[in-house]
């Protein structure tokens, strides 16, 4: 079964403990300066945003059908059976197509490095594999970030909305967006206020399908187009051969 994270913005108190836990887990620097940064970067995989007394967390959505994994020419990203979308740095050539392709703009780059890596939340894959919860879920004092089975979390999210409809937007972000994600979000205010792309803009189609439609035609296209080109060559040069042969005939006929 695939694991997921449920983040409920209405319970979040903006304490940024998830940022601290994430930094510790990934051995990232975390001080007052980093804490004050309100953008994700190569040294800050998750961020808690605050606006008009409301909070919202941003992190990699761990798509069920990740665009990053489908576009990477060397397959440096893959979705694990447990849910996390992970990165194999030793394969990476640094083309940054993953960054351009991600609808949530999650992969960040080590722009100052001479041997740069793509950085993003990888959902603590070793912990998840060992049956533990992610660092951010473990450290969260209010349960705003909750780790569990994706199906269970979906039910829980639906219950929370049903029991307290006035508190929530009637929408679980990540349930269907781009074919579903392993991070599910609940909020009292519109998600796009915090930089999440509008649901109707990104749609429910898994991202890999957009390019998959073209890529799937290539195996048929190559032999067919090759055959056409070869055929054209044969015809145009056949005409020449015929002309040569007929010319010979004429010549021999004239000599007779």
């Amino acid at each position: 079964m695939s694991k997921a994270l449920l983040y409920d913005a209405t319970i979040c108190i903006g304490c940024k403990q998830c940022e601290v836990g994430c930094a510790e887990q990934n051995k990232l620097r975390y001080d007052d300066q980093v804490a004050a940064e309100s953008v994700q970067s190569e040294h800050k995989y998750t961020v808690v945003l605050a606006k008009d007394g409301k909070f919202m967390r941003r992190l990699c959505m761990h798509c069920e059908h990740p665009a990053c994994a489908s576009v990477c020419p060397v397959g440096a990203f893959h979705k694990t059976a447990e849910g996390p979308v992970v990165y194999d740095v030793w394969k990476c050539i640094g083309c940054r197509y993953c960054m351009v392709a991600c609808a949530f703009a999650q992969p960040k780059y080590e722009w100052q490095s001479l041997n740069p890596r793509v950085r993003k939340c990888i959902m603590c894959p070793e912990r998840v594999k060992a049956g533990q919860q992610t660092a951010c879920a473990e450290i969260c004092p209010t349960g705003a970030t909750k780790f569990g089975e994706r199906d269970d979390l979906i039910k829980e999210a639906q219950d929370r909305i049903r029991q307290n409809p006035s508190n929530y937007m009637p929408h679980i972000y990540g349930l269907a967006e781009v074919g579903g994600t392993s991070v599910l979000l609940l909020s009292g205010v519109a998600f796009e206020q915090f930089g999440y792309p509008k649901s109707e803009k990104i749609g429910d189609t898994p991202m890999p399908e957009y390019t998959g439609r073209v890529m799937s035609k290539i195996p048929d296209f190559i032999p067919l187009w090759g055959l056409v080109l070869g055929g054209v060559y044969w015809i145009t040069h056949r005409r020449e051969d015929v002309a040569a042969v007929e010319g010979e005939k004429k010549n021999s006929g004239g000599a007779r």
Binding site: Q40, S41, E42, A67, S70, V71, C72, P73, V74, G75, A76, K91, C92, I93, G94, C95, R96, Y97, M99, V100, A101, A103, A105, K108, Y109, E110, W111, Q112, S113, L114, N115, P116, P197, K201, I202, G203, M207, P208, Y210, T211, G212, R213, V214, M215, I218, F221, I222, W225, G226, L229, G230, V232, Y233, T236, H237, R239, E240, D241, A243, A244
Partner: protein
């Protein structure tokens, strides 16, 4: 003439020195130090121009070899060699450009072992690699003739038909796939440029630019090397360009129409200004120019139409790769000067290598270069495969 040459040489040296400084910054201090690329703009002009436009500008290679070898249009023979040279240099420089842009260029060969068949980038990479090899062999006869190596020359000629067919196949694939790269960004790329038809438009523009670039390169080299212009050939290319431009323009119109964008493109907006610029340069001006017989048959008119066409489609690809993302990102991307210098150096190197190749290799038919006195001159059109000469 001599003063002009020194001037251009000076320009070249200045560009190259600044380019070398930029290359030092790139490899000593990283991508962040040399460019204005960022997490918001992970792809800058090195992808938008060096790769997307580089591959497009080198498209003449598959079009002209296809016309001559595949369609058997013999009288275009004289432009095959310079066009193949342009294409070969173009693809080599695209790869050089990639070595600046990739974060870890020393792992570029990973494409061959960690293959991801779902990735458009993987397909493009593989095609570019193979096609550059094909172009190398199509270019090789120049060198073999120069050193009068008859045996290998014969070998290359026997596989030439296969090379040309492979070249067209590979070009069709990766020229269109460069557009397919952007299909995965429906929510990010501005609707003026995001369309499921992107692969078709990238291929169509490559055909137009391939023709325009051939006219441009022939006109320039006739001036630079004091050769006579093959005007009838260029007039024919100009005619073909006019048709290709019309087809491109009509398909673009159809696409705007079907996606309900016609109303938006006439409304002034940041994106609309860039779209108008692109459409004017790529379609309106060159189509107008080429529609007049008098202009189409004059060297100056052809040259002008070709230049506008090139500028137009370069604008198009920069719109797809840069302008089209600015609204989504929320701010503008302007390349750093060092970023520009790398790109300029690559272009300048292309010009210089072309000039050098023309000087030492039998690129132009009947071109009496002091460096070439071999009998290879006796048959100047021999890029051709053996079958072509069956009819000679």
């Amino acid at each position: 003439m001599k003063v002009k040459l020194t001037f251009w040489k000076l320009v070249f040296v200045v560009i190259l020195v600044l380019g070398m400084y930029s290359a030092y910054v790139r490899y000593a201090h990283g991508l962040g130090a040399v460019s204005n690329m960022s997490d918001q703009f992970p792809w800058g002009i090195w992808i938008g121009f060096d790769v997307l436009c580089g591959v497009m500008l080198a498209a003449g290679g598959f079009i002209v070899t296809g016309a001559v070898h595949l369609l058997n249009i013999e009288h275009l023979h004289s432009i095959v060699r310079p066009t193949v040279l342009t294409a070969f240099l173009g693809y080599c420089l695209v790869i050089v450009g990639l070595c600046f842009d990739l974060g870890r260029p020393w792992f570029i060969w990973h494409q061959l072992i960690y293959m991801n068949p779902h990735s458009v980038m993987f397909e493009v990479g593989l095609c570019v690699m193979f096609y550059t090899t094909v172009l190398f062999f199509e270019f090789l006869p120049n060198v073999l003739e120069r050193f009068n190596l008859k045996k290998p020359l014969q070998w290359v000629k026997t596989i030439m038909a296969g090379l040309v067919v492979a070249g067209i196949l590979l070009s069709t694939l990766h020229q269109s796939s460069l557009g397919a790269l952007y299909l995965i960004m429906p929510s990010k790329l501005h609707p003026f440029w995001y369309t499921p038809a992107l692969p078709f438009f990238f291929f169509g523009s490559a055909v137009a630019v391939g023709l325009a670039m051939t006219i441009f390169e022939s006109s320039l080299s006739s001036r630079a090397f004091g050769r006579q212009l093959e005007l009838p050939v260029l007039v024919e290319l100009g005619g073909a360009l006019l048709v290709v431009l019309w087809v491109n323009a009509l398909l673009r119109f159809e696409d705007f129409f079907h996606r309900g964008q016609l109303g938006n493109i006439v409304k002034p907006s940041y994106e609309a200004y860039f779209l108008w610029l692109e459409l004017a340069l790529a379609f309106v001006i060159p189509i107008t120019l080429l529609s007049f017989k008098k202009i189409r048959r004059s060297p100056g008119g052809l040259y002008l139409a070709a230049v506008f066409c090139l500028l137009g489609f370069v604008t198009n690809r920069l719109n797809v790769s840069v302008t089209g993302f600015e609204t989504w990102v929320g701010h503008h991307y302007v390349p750093k000067w060092t970023e520009f210098m790398i790109t300029l150096s690559i272009v300048a190197t292309g010009f210089a290598l072309f000039g050098t190749a023309v000087k030492y290799l039998p690129i132009f038919p009947g071109h009496e270069s002091p460096a070439i006195k071999v009998e290879a001159q006796a048959k100047p059109f021999v890029v051709a495969a053996v079958p072509e000469h069956a009819g000679d």
